[in-house]
Amino acid sequence: MTIVLFLLSIVSVLCAVTPAWADQHTGIRVGLLLMAIDARPDHVRISEALRVTNAGDPRRVSVEISLPPRAQYVTFHRGVASPVQTEHGFGGTIPLRRGITEVAYSYAIPTGSREAIVRVLPFDVERMEVVGRGAQVRLADLAGRELTPVIVGGEVLSRWEIRGVRAGQPVVVELAGLPVTSRWWPPGAAGGLAVILALGLLKGVTSASQKS
């Protein structure tokens, strides 16, 4: 009985997340979500590209996509019309033509040397691919698998993929070896300089007093 209630609660959660999409979107499927992670000092910039296939007539669909809680500087590159900020991410309209439409946006997240980014999407995704640059990337999900790294401009980019991601299913992307800025050297070096100068001054004063 407990298990049944638990399963029912998951279904209700999934329904709550996806009703608009499910109602509006017959004939629409998201074939690919490409998530490119660019590790930079103290933060990562994440670009997400969706490949949406529309088998029906051209139409405009409303969508609300949640982003990781600390996402900042959301930038829309392609496919989202009139985006607005919402409590958990952004909402907007996607004008879909017949066939494939690409949607792309990016955002940044502050990070330490390790980070786990949880993505929950409001629609099913047939294949999700994660590409990492400048850090070790892995998908924590058991269903995820590592792909052959790709070499771009002499740089090896690690790749992971997961297939059949359900709407509302959390996908955890683990990042390690992220670059973190150390802020100790300016005060450290200035402190060192202070010590050297103080010692020099002390020596000068001592020798002057000895002379006198």
Partner: protein, 661 residues
């Protein structure tokens, strides 16, 4: 990049503290190597400020948005010239500019002082204490190298009001003046400690003049910016920040006159030192007003909480300078006294009192709102009527002194010779006054200023003719005599040229204040209106967008009588990123008046509302600035003294035209 800049600031602070300690030890023990160490500290500090400034400039140019400062004042589409100007477009950057300029001044003055090594230590000490204060502010309260964990994809961009060529040069010029006051202040301290020698007087005068000319230009550039950018048709509003720059200008102007009394007669030593200290304090006060956000101002583009630190620093400067002055008061008792009430030194003293009184009333009017708020809780602003009413008689008195002082002899003026010298300029002034009145000038203030301006110009001409006549007695042709006179008395005649520049400015200010006309009209396309002899026909309005901008532009043709003068295109620009609207005025300037056109708005049916102003003689103000610069440069160039050319002076009471002493 941020680390390099932060290191430069912290190391700069360390070097300052080290230099101050070494300097104090050097002064107390008279050990030369400690003094030399403090000098090296000044140079090292200056080098570190150059490093910090270079780092910040590089960050601005490369759009290093990880720095909060860069993200706040630049954007990717900002042109290079404004990217450079963005350095002082924000609070932290402008403080770094202060430090950079102080460092450069420090290097130069210490090099100049090689011939006066006794002044080394106190000058270096004062520079280092001031440097230490600003470096501390930069390192701990207003660090331009503060990093953001995530850089934004683009910066907010420079405040639209600052995107103007005049604003690119106004702050650095003004800061060259403000910071330049540190050098005379350092020399004042050195003078009190080591003695007010002839070498000291020469240095003090020269360095005050350098700071003064930059302050003058800074004030004029700011006025020009206000005139062409803010769209209100004026250039001076007795704004707190404007006043803050005017006050040290007035006290330094007083000093440049009274130092001559000290040079010639050995009088007013303590007064001159006090003026140097007050000018520095007022310069710091000006920086405090601009940077603290304590007063709302159209010129203040920064708001920060550093005001309390400035007040503490000001208190320390005043207390230590006052104590030093009192402790060494005996040094100033050796001077003589005024020989006669009517003499050039008396006129200079009176001129000083008027200038200091002017600075005082401006100070009172500027800080009154803060004091009123402290006591009553309400901010009561003192507006332009107060300043205009109080300043007008002082300006008229100054003009009288400007005209009479050069005609008075040093020590004791002979009434007869003075009467003879003053009669021609006075006659010119009276006739001119009557002539202006006949031409329709009815404002008593304007009449007085115009007549007195001609009186001063006449006095300068009398002085020049007097000198030429003396040289001609040595057989010089007139043209050669004029040239030799100017070349061999550069300070005196440079000063007169400066006076002529001041006259041009005062005339421009008086006429544009008293006789400006304006009207606000709404016109349909094809309709026309007239003002001040100009006919303006509104043709059409266009609207377009550029990235981040919504621009509405109108086309207006201008003619005077049947003669077409061209097209003017006033615009209204909405800056989307800053959510700020600005008016791009259209201006047609001539020597006699400015036609100043502001687009107030355009309605959907293309009716446009304009504010049209005709401001007389405004160009004279800007031209007067150029004349002042020319005069100052003439006065700053050391005179090439030749033994065979007699110096023309009114050292003693001599009738105009008599042989020089």
């Amino acid at each position: 990049m941020a680390d390099l800049g932060s290191f430069a600031l912290l190391a700069g602070l360390v070097v300052c503290v080290y230099g101050v300690v070494a300097g104090v030890i050097g002064i107390r023990t008279r050990e030369r190597r400690f003094v030399e160490t403090s000098l090296r500290a000044v140079r090292a500090w200056a080098a570190l400020m150059v490093l910090a400034s270079g780092t910040l400039m590089f960050a601005l140019v490369t759009r290093h948005f990880r720095l909060e400062f860069v993200a706040a004042v630049t954007s990717r589409d900002l042109p290079l010239v404004y990217t450079v100007a963005a350095f002082w477009g924000g609070h932290a950057g402008s403080l770094l500019l202060w430090a950079l300029i102080l460092g450069l001044y420090g290097i130069v003055i210490l090099r100049v002082l090689r011939s006066s090594p006794q002044m080394y230590a106190p000058v270096a000490l004062v520079l280092l204490v001031t440097a230490g204060f600003f470096t501390w502010l930069l390192a701990f309260t207003s660090n331009p190298f503060t990093v953001m964990q995530i850089p934004p994809p683009d910066g907010r961009g420079l405040n639209p009001l600052l995107k103007n060529p005049w604003m690119s040069i106004h702050p650095p010029t003004l800061y060259l003046g403000f910071v330049g006051m540190t050098v005379p202040f350092a020399l004042a301290v050195a003078g009190v400690l080591t003695g007010l020698t002839a070498e000291w007087i020469k240095l003090a005068r020269r360095w005050m003049m350098i700071a003064w000319i930059f302050l003058t230009l800074g004030l004029l550039f700011g006025a020009k910016w206000s005139y062409v950018v803010l769209g209100w048709g004026g250039y001076w509003a007795w704004d707190p920040v404007e006043n803050a720059a005017l006050m040290p200008w007035l006290t330094s102007t007083a000093f440049l006159h009274s130092i001559q009394v000290q040079e010639r007669r050995g009088l007013l030593g303590a007064w001159n030192v006090s003026l140097m200290i007050i000018s520095f304090v007022l310069a710091i006060f000006g920086t405090f007003l601009t940077r603290s956000g304590v007063m709302s101002s159209v010129h203040a583009f920064a708001d920060s909480s550093i005001g309390v630190y400035f007040l503490i620093f000001l208190g320390l400067v005043l207390a230590s300078s006052g104590w030093l002055l009192l402790a060494r008061w005996d040094r100033f008792r050796q001077g003589g006294s005024l020989d006669a009430l009517v003499s050039r030194e008396s006129a200079f003293l009176l001129n000083n009192l008027v200038l200091v009184a002017a600075a005082f009333v401006i100070f009172t009017g500027t800080v009154f709102p803060i004091i009123a708020e402290a006591f009553t809780g309400d901010r009561i602003n003192v507006g332009p009527p107060y300043f205009n009413q109080v300043m007008a008689p002082l300006v008229i008195l100054l003009l009288v002194l400007m005209g009479t002082a050069p005609l008075l002899a040093w020590r004791k003026a002979d009434a007869q010779s003075f009467g003879r010298a003053v009669s021609a300029p006075a006659a010119v002034a009276i006739l001119a006054g009557l002539g202006f009145a006949a031409l329709g000038v009815r404002s008593p203030g304007a009449l007085a200023v115009l007549a007195l301006a001609l009186f001063v110009a006449g006095a300068v001409a009398v002085e020049l003719l007097h000198g030429v006549r003396i040289l001609r007695t040595h057989g010089e042709p007139a043209a050669v005599a004029v040239g030799r006179l100017l070349l061999n008395n550069r300070r005196r005649y440079g000063g007169y040229v400066v006076h002529l520049g001041i006259l041009l400015i005062l005339t421009g200010v008086t006429m544009s204040s008293a006789y400006a006309t304006q009207v606000q009209v709404t016109l349909r396309p094809g309709e026309q209106t007239s003002l001040g002899g100009y006919t303006l026909r509104y043709h059409d309005a266009q609207a377009w967008r550029l990235p981040g901008l919504q621009i509405t532009s109108t086309t207006v043709s201008v003619s005077t009588g049947p003669r077409p003068l061209g097209l003017l295109r006033p615009q209204h620009v909405y800056h989307e990123v800053q959510d700020q609207a600005t008016s791009e005025i259209a201006l047609r300037s001539t020597w006699w008046n400015d036609l100043y056109l502001v687009l107030v708005g355009v309605s959907p049916d293309r009716r446009a509302t304009f504010r049209i102003m005709v401001n007389p003689l405004v160009t004279w103000i800007w031209f007067g600035g150029g004349v002042i610069l020319t005069g100052t440069l003439i006065a700053l160039v050391p005179a090439a003294r030749r033994r065979d050319v007699p110096e023309v002076r009114r050292d003693v009471a001599v009738p105009a035209g008599a042989k020089a002493q």
